[in-house]
């Protein structure tokens, strides 16, 4: 009897620890794979507004980042390689690959400096409002880096994949 009680107690304690550990690492999001991605319309570094929906027809990676976010900055060279490799690739239904970079910077100078330093040649937008950015609200971003891969019709293909897992998702759309 005592053994059974002890067993249940330790199971409960373990579950509580595991749950706490999982919560500290999760990035909850309201977006769902297979549903339509919301639109965004934000200014680029030169003030020209670019909307996400205007890019329909291509596979798009919506990449949330900031120059103050070390892991995001570290990921940019990998994205540059993906961009070069797949920008003009032959996809099953899409006409190419594009990255829509959304920065949560709040200082334009820092944002522009980071773009230049890392030779980022894809679309960049920001309302320069740090975590109060409407883009972070609309896409329910809870941690950086964060990204959403969408297809030519604006349907979400993948949420927050990085490295090889992200490339595999893009490859799945290639016409083989």
């Amino acid at each position: 009897m005592l053994k059974t009680k002890l067993l249940w107690l330790t199971i409960l304690l373990s579950l509580a620890s595991a749950t706490s550990f999982a919560q500290s690492n999760q990035t909850a999001t309201a977006l769902v794979v297979g549903s339509k991605a919301p639109d965004l319309s934000l200014p680029g570094p030169k003030g020209d507004t670019v909307s996400l929906y205007s890019l329909k027809g291509r596979i798009i990676l919506v990449d949330f980042w900031a120059s103050w976010c070390a892991p995001c900055v570290k990921e940019q060279p990998e994205l540059l390689q993906l961009y070069k490799k797949y920008k003009h690739a032959h996809f099953k239904n899409a006409s190419g690959f594009e990255i829509y970079g959304v920065s949560l910077d709040n200082k334009k100078a820092n944002w522009v400096k980071a773009i230049q330093k890392m030779n980022i040649s894809w679309i960049q937008v920001s309302d320069l409002k740090f975590w109060n950015s409407k883009a972070a609200r609309i896409f329910d971003v809870e941690a950086l880096p964060f990204n959403v891969l969408i297809d030519e019709k604006g349907i979400i293909l993948a949420i927050n994949l990085h490295g090889k897992a992200l490339e595999k998702s893009i490859l799945n759309q290639i016409d083989k």
Binding site: L7, T10, W68, C69, F130, N132, E142, A143
Partner: protein, 148 residues
């Protein structure tokens, strides 16, 4: 026999999680009493009181209403600015610093800033408890921000 083996595994896993959490706490320059809950600070914002805490942003942007912007404390010039600001304050004034860029374990700003507060011997230094970031732990809860 099987139950004993299962119990042992579960106990080891639980102990490992506890030890990990304990070890993390000991490496921080602040203690649990020096972490200020966002709810507590939010209630005091806007109240006209000379004893109100000085809220200092040592991260990318001073979004919290009434806070003073210093800039990211990982940069030397901003640490100098922080020291200049603190040098004009009474040592017993409640000081609350925050960054909110990233989770505590990845934030490059909170540790050097909190170390300065301790080094300058403020008696009531506080770190705003934003374990995830400013959006999740402050903005999403509807607490007051500086709109621009």
């Amino acid at each position: 026999m099987k139950i004993n083996a299962l119990l042992s595994v579960i106990l080891i896993v639980t102990a490992a999680f506890s030890l990990q959490a304990s070890a993390q706490d000991k490496t921080q320059p602040w203690n649990a009493n020096q972490l200020l809950a966002p709810e507590v600070l939010a209630k005091n914002i806007g109240i006209s009181d000379t004893a109100a805490p000085l809220i200092i942003c040592i991260g990318p942007s001073a979004l919290i209403k009434g806070s003073v912007e210093i800039g990211p404390a990982q940069e030397h010039d901003n640490l100098v600015k922080l020291r200049q600001l603190l040098s004009k304050q009474p040592k017993d004034r409640e000081m609350v610093i925050y960054c909110g860029c990233c989770p505590f374990d990845k934030c490059p700003n909170i540790r050097p800033a909190f170390a300065v507060l301790k080094e300058m011997e403020f008696t009531d230094p506080k770190l705003l408890n934003l374990p995830h970031n400013l959006k999740v732990d402050w903005i999403d809860k509807g607490f007051p921000i500086n709109e621009n």
